[in-house]
């Protein structure tokens, strides 16, 4: 008991300090807890709400459903056409991700490994598209272009426009290129590779971690996109995505709003992303965290 003399000389201050520490620790955890509750509250409302009946949702103040109605999902999937919405969202997100990664990785490869006339102009152009926004104005000429190309009646119009916004992915990938040593390129050239085969055989395999992070980012953006598919599918409900179909349900063709279907539909939209996030949250955070470093 080495501390015994100290306790004898100042017993009150030590007890006081300890109480103080417990108290401030308590405040800290209450603060963290409150924000955590605030954060998960709407997600829990959606999750539990998706199993409630419409009546229970609109009348009762309960957290857990009294009876778990899995049939809400069946109803949403079949009657409210969420099968189609999900397919459209999946189609758009998949091809947008592939296109974005291809365009951005090719451009980042050339920009990082070569010097050429107009390089800095190209990079500034990409940076500018990230920051300058005149809002929904641009969707009108984009739409007219797609009509001319006969792409307005398919999902490809939306996909091409989403791919065109690949500046963020480009900058994410440029960051990862710094980690691939140029010696590898040189060695491959000596072994008879050319500019293209170095990209395909050396860069792409080594860029996999970066491509993975960028893919999550691109997929999530396309999956969550609302305004572009909304405008594009106004005259063509067959092409509606999950976000648009869900919002449309609120304005409903029927008199009463079907809140239980909205909740089930919202779950269909947020659950896939949440599940991926549960396993890969570090990668999601890497994109945001990386953007202010340096």
């Amino acid at each position: 008991m080495n501390t015994a003399p100290a306790t004898n000389t100042a017993p009150i201050t030590k007890v006081g300090r300890r109480a103080n520490r417990i108290f401030s620790g308590l405040i800290l955890w209450v603060f963290l807890g409150l924000i955590a509750v605030f954060t998960v509250f709407p997600v829990l409302v959606t999750l539990f709400g998706s199993f409630k009946t419409n009546a229970e949702l609109t009348a009762g103040a309960t957290i857990l459903p009294s009876v778990w109605h899995f049939s809400n999902y069946l109803e949403a999937w079949k009657q409210a056409d969420f099968a189609k919405f999900t397919w459209n969202s999946l189609f758009i997100s998949t091809f947008t991700t592939i296109g974005t990664l291809l365009l951005a990785s090719m451009a980042a490869y050339a920009v990082d490994r070569r010097s050429f006339f107009g390089k800095s102009l190209y990079v500034s152009l990409q940076a500018a598209t990230m920051f300058i926004s005149i809002g929904a104005v641009v969707i009108r000429p984009q739409f007219e272009l797609m009509v001319k190309l006969h792409l307005n009646s398919s999902l490809w119009g939306i996909i091409f426009i989403l791919i065109s916004a690949h500046a963020t992915t480009f900058f994410i990938l440029i960051g990862f290129f710094k980690g691939i040593p140029r010696d590898l390129d040189e060695a491959a050239y000596i072994d008879g590779c050319n500019f293209f085969s170095v990209y395909w055989r050396i860069i792409v395999p080594l860029l996999k971690p970066g491509l993975g992070v960028a893919a999550l980012f691109a997929f999530r953006n396309a999956w969550n996109e609302y305004i572009l598919p909304l405008v594009f599918t106004m005259t063509n409900p067959k092409l509606q995505t999950l976000t648009v179909g869900l919002a449309d349900l609120r304005y409903g063709t029927t008199a009463a709003t079907q809140t239980h279907l909205i909740m089930a539909g919202a779950c269909l939209s947020i659950l896939p992303i949440l599940i991926v996030y549960a396993f890969a949250n570090k990668s999601f955070m890497q994109v945001t965290g990386g953007s202010v470093k340096g």
Binding site: S133, G135, A136, A266, S269
Partner: protein, 298 residues
């Protein structure tokens, strides 16, 4: 010859990206710059009117109302989000038990769809049968339903939803910034007897300086441009109380939902979009200039 070939290779790898950017990113802006000098409702004749659209814009009270609303919206969001997320980042930067789990929880809103979560928030805040009101009534915290989306509170509610989506994002940006502050600084401050709040104000804030400025600038631009959440939550209503700049721009081109009506104004709308971009640019530059000056004073 080889250098010419190299150049060709480089350009061929840039080309797909460049074509997409020019055709779908730059051309629409050029298109808008042309139309902002025209009177064109979207069909029929295009009439060149010079700066006529901008003259009408100056007199457009609804637009300037939306500009004021945007300022209130952005300010409210930033004033609460930035300190909260900074405090969270400072707490979760240290060796707290479960910090990775908490980080993941707080960052979660960032991965979810703004539109979808705004629909959920609509059901939470709805004054009739809304989930929040039902809870408050059940536990007798309130005796009468609160009109969360009514004229008085709609803006506050919209800001709360915006804060919900933003805290985790800025927390993470701050966490990245905090990594750059070396631990020894805190250690020597502890030896000198500094407490937690002293360390926060005399070490964290000053050493975060440039990163803090950049994050606030980012927050300003993002908040001024945001309209998706409001579009779903309140549609800019009631009586224009939550109408923000870029939602007003949207309205000039497209209806809010497939069932609502609208008056299309291509020429005027282009001018409104351009003006909004200028306002965002000016405010951002203004902040940049101000923070540089404040830096010199302190």
């Amino acid at each position: 010859m080889t250098s010419l070939r190299k150049l060709g290779e480089s350009y061929s790898f840039i080309l797909p990206s460049l074509i997409f950017t020019l055709v779908l990113g730059i051309y629409p802006i050029v298109w808008a710059i042309r139309y902002m000098f025209y009177d064109y409702p979207g069909y029929g004749e295009e009439v060149f009117i010079g700066f006529g659209n901008f003259a009408s814009l100056m007199r457009d009270e609804a637009y300037w109302n939306s500009v004021v609303n945007t300022a209130v919206y952005a300010m409210g969001k930033i004033i609460i989000t930035i300190p909260l997320s900074l405090i969270l980042a400072v707490i979760l930067n240290k060796g707290l038990k479960g910090k990775n789990f908490l980080r993941a929880i707080y960052f979660m809103p960032t991965v979810l769809s703004t539109a979808v979560i705004s629909i959920v928030f609509f059901n939470i805040f709805n004054s009739y049968n809304g989930i929040l009101n039902q809870f408050l009534l059940k536990y007798h915290i309130i005796s009468k339903s609160i009109d969360w989306l009514g004229p008085d509170l709609a803006m506050v509610t919209s800001i709360i939803v915006a804060i919900w989506g933003a805290i985790g994002n800025y927390m993470l940006l701050f966490l990245a910034g905090l990594q750059n502050i070396p631990d020894d600084v805190y250690e020597s401050a502890s030896l000198d007897g500094a407490n937690a709040s002293q360390k926060f104000f005399y070490i964290t804030i000053p050493m975060l300086g440039p990163v803090l400025q950049m994050i606030i600038m980012l927050a300003i631009t993002i908040s001024l441009k945001g309209y998706e959440s409001i579009m779903v939550l309140t549609e800019g209503g009631p009586i224009g109380r939550t109408e923000v700049m870029y939602l007003y721009v949207y309205r000039m081109f497209f209806p809010i939902s497939s069932s609502s009506t609208m008056i299309q104004q291509i020429g005027y709308g282009s001018a409104v979009g351009f003006m909004s971009a200028i306002i965002v640019g000016l405010i951002t530059l203004g902040y940049f200039w101000l923070s540089k000056r404040l830096n010199r004073i302190f």
